[in-house]
Symmetry: C2
Subunit: 145 residues, 2 copies
DNA sequence: ATAATAAATGAGACTTATTCTCATTTATTG
DNA sequence: CAATAAATGAGAATAAGTCTCATTTATTAT
């Protein structure tokens, strides 16, 4: 675990420091997206707040981290490693849980056709996309009772 | 214009006040999503900051307003009126412009099939969705030179 | 291994978006 | 038109995120 966080850093030519290793390990503890608050709790003040934000910025720069905002306006962060497959997000409006979901290849193929149309129509170069789905978990979400 | 903002409010059983009318009119001035800052400029201090936020909250509650966050973490807001068709968003990473886009019926149909699958798989009830596309406008965006 | 140098960190001050409070004003209704 | 409940304005309070700068740590060339 510690090994692979070191590797992520050195492979991307950023220096291997303790705070960076700790943040990566905290991020690796769960596969679904997590909030800054979640991270701070896991890190137990072993990394200064300013450093945490800086490290997250560094990880974004080397494309290892994706940051976005939940519908209730909370910043959320998730690791994007080589083996992370392309995915989308499902948001629970009751408990705030965010779940990674994959959609069928057939769908993804049609979506990329649509995206090419949009690129032409608006003279854009589109390099990423995501489908966000909003709803409520009907009974078995881990946070809702 | 003033007429229809009054109608939106009374149709939704919220009292018709000046700040609410002014905010609705400012929102109606552009069809693409706009920032809180854009709104404040249009309102020229005719509505207090605290009231602006409150009114936006009221409009969200009656489902007339949709609020979301741009990739550079700026809160953005757009009117959702009866005649607003279902659409998605295209973000320019250079100038921050956000453009409403529609996708083909064929695509939307396949997407709703996918969504039904996700609902079953995760025991969710999904009531909204949006496709976000990220890129850069290659030459003719109004804000980029 | 070590010293020199450049980069990263910690601590806390600072900024800025949003929310809250409470005294005053406005809209609704009967 | 008066009574009452709701909405507003002004500015204080909060909280997320950024910035500064003195100190520490990692890298590298010897």
């Amino acid at each position: 675990m510690s090994e692979s966080s070191r590797k992520i850093l050195s492979d991307n030519n950023v220096s291997v420091t303790n705070p960076r290793i700790l943040v990566l390990e905290a991020l690796m503890e769960s596969q679904n997206p997590q909030t800054i608050d979640d991270l701070q709790k896991k890190l137990e003040n072993k990394v200064a707040k300013s450093t945490l934000y800086r490290v997250l910025g560094d990880l974004k720069k080397i494309n290892v981290l994706h940051e976005f905002t939940s519908p209730d306006n909370i910043t959320v962060v998730e690791l994007l490693l080589h083996d992370t497959e392309h995915h989308h997000h499902l948001f629970c409006g009751d408990c705030g849980e965010i779940i990674d979901v994959s959609l069928s290849n057939e769908f993804e193929k049609l979506l990329s056709v649509e995206i090419k149309k949009i690129e032409r129509k608006f003279n854009f170069q589109i390099n990423d996309h995501r489908v966000e789905m909003f709803g409520t978990c009907t009974d078995q979400c881990s946070n809702c009772k």
